[in-house]
Symmetry: C2
Subunit: 377 residues, 2 copies
């Protein structure tokens, strides 16, 4: 105790004990950093599950039309956007909070619930940014292995029971594997959710997934909070607009801690317009489905298996272990193709390819056999 | 203890003890909320110290030019923007962190340093969003009165010594009064800063202030962190781009906790362009100076005193107490003029008017005598 105090006096400024113990982590290195290190731009950007088809033309024209509003702060309540979202989901705006992407909302949510030593459950190899937030607030993270390349909801809930977890993180569809479980399966599993444990349902990719992947839950259900984003199907990753849906009091609790003026004004406008363009969304979903099919074909042509995906990316099984897949990844990157891969065994036998435009996938198709050949040497 | 435990089990989800104790505060109600309540739009928006002249045309055209990049996440390191800022301030990009406005950066900074029960010092009536963050992390806030409508730097430092504060918040120029202290005065005062206390120098309005308001400090000086923004002089409040400058290790510590992908991509582009347009900035500063002069004249015409301002707003002394000024404020709002006022006595004898375009100030000029007359009834 005295020793700690001494250390505290010696460091300047006096960080919290928790912060002193944290590493300077970056959950993901952006492609721009890699480009600077490599001193050359990527030719295809297929690593961040961005949506290369971009946003609805309505959203783009909103960016232009309202650019002269940039001098004004955005509405800190995101009222219009929440109202439109409420209409879309047939819930009240009071059941919705808008934030700086799902990343931002996950940070707030963890802060609301997790004190030092509190227990949290996730899948081993699931979204690292969630883990980053849990560590950042001193939470104790329990990792449950995937089962057959799917997040294992029954084991997650079981583990939460064992460790008295306050939070479970579950992405449906999953990233990085692109698999999903059915809404009915989720509903059944939730019956065993321990009391006092909140279930985070990250549905960032849900627009790409079959409708049956969405559990029918009452918005008054206090056990679950659902996260959505404009970064994936809506093609606006750069805008940083995510939202959470849940029981009113839970949603209201975000008001205690969030950065009320954190939302970019034009991004709110663009999201509102994107939401109104359902035709575009449907076209997008079709385009992404075609793109997945193309990636399946490229994999098959190279005698590789792939994981059927309900997202805008495909995990391709490189057929050997993680170190082989890592070599394939390096071979793609050295050919100017930005891709990423799962972090954890056995998922790390795969590389993860985001759906791109024809041009991008042409480049990938050309580069993959070369990367495989080099990795096999 | 048992009682608390019991309460925890009964609430769902299980918030942290700290969060349970926090109110659902909003540091500021946005004008949009007031417009919805009043069911009518404001005719002039003079309450949020926004810059009605807007950003440089270069920034606006960047918004349009790069709108088709919206599908990509922004560079999480804001490398180009930090490089340009480094050049401007003649420091390394490693001395700069970019964040979601000064509000966002203040939140991160408080989180880095403040655990429950830690002491923090600010001026009574200074920026509420800072106080919001301090409370949000369980800090104990000490408020020092203004002295002659200026933040009282010597007393702030003195109080920090007494309470062993980890942080002092000091805005120069100050909001809501618009006053400043000289850089030399700050440097002298810092000599008495207690060891282990970090001095936050919020320079959001500094571009509008005389050059002598800026203290010449080495960037290696571990005692100070300086905050700047694109929301005021650069006219981009809606973009949410702020930055902090400080000693490298302090800046690096933000990497432990910040939302790495929190920055809007187009906002970064626009900020970069805005930064390159120094002519525009100089014109802007001149326009704002003219606007201040106009507000002084309006005040004088109404036989009111005003506080000389080094910002883009003017505090007009309504000549009586806070309840009178509140009536004047209400009289302006009821005439469609959005304005705000200081929260704390004796500063709350004033209303705070942001510099607007001619059209906006014309409306204010017309509305003020009516509001004064109504308040005097």
């Amino acid at each position: 105790m005295l020793y700690l105090l001494y250390l505290n006096v010696m460091t300047y400024p006096r960080y919290t004990r928790l912060v002193n113990e944290l590493p300077s982590t970056v959950p993901f290195v952006g492609p721009e950093s890699q480009e600077r290190d490599r001193k050359i731009l990527f030719e295809a950007r297929l690593g961040a599950n961005e949506n290369m088809f971009g946003p609805s033309p309505k959203a783009l024209s909103a960016l232009k039309k309202y650019s002269n509003e940039q001098w004004m702060y955005g509405d800190p309540t995101s009222f219009e956007l929440r109202s439109a979202l409420g209409e879309k989901h047939q819930i009240s705006p009071d059941n919705i909070v808008v934030g700086e992407g799902i990343d931002g909302l996950l940070g707030y949510l963890v802060r609301l619930l997790v004190s030092e030593g509190d227990h949290v459950v996730t899948s081993d190899g699931a979204y690292p940014t969630f883990n980053y937030h849990v560590s950042g607030f001193g939470g104790h993270l329990h990792r449950v292995p995937y089962l057959d390349d799917r997040e294992d909801i029954a084991s997650l809930i079981n583990r939460a029971q064992t460790v008295d977890a306050k939070l479970i993180y579950f992405a449906n569809p999953d990233n990085p594997m692109g698999t999903y479980v059915s809404g009915n399966e989720i509903k059944r599993a939730l019956e065993d959710l321990p009391e006092g444990c909140l279930f985070i349902l990250d549905e960032a990719y849900s627009e790409f997934a079959p409708a049956l992947s969405l559990p029918r839950l009452e918005i008054t259900d206090k056990r679950v909070i659902r996260l959505r984003t404009f970064s994936k199907a809506y093609g606006m990753a750069g805008a940083r607009v995510g939202y959470a849906m849940g029981e009113k009091n839970l949603i209201k609790s975000f008001e205690k801690i969030r950065n009320h003026f954190g939302m970019n004004r034009l991004a709110q406008r663009a999201a509102l317009e994107a939401l109104s363009d359902d035709n575009w969304l449907q076209e997008m979903i079709q385009k992404v489905e075609n793109g997945r099919q193309r990636i399946y074909n490229i994999a098959a042509k190279n005698k590789l298996k792939f994981i059927n995906s309900a997202t805008n990316f495909v995990a391709i099984d490189c057929g050997q272990d993680g170190s082989f897949a890592k070599k394939v990844l390096a071979g793609l990157i050295s050919q100017g193709i930005f891709v990423r891969m799962p972090f954890v065994c056995p998922q790390d036998r795969c590389i993860r390819i985001s759906v791109g435009k024809k041009r991008d996938l042409d480049k990938f198709e050309k580069a993959l056999p070369i990367a495989l050949e080099r990795a096999s040497r």
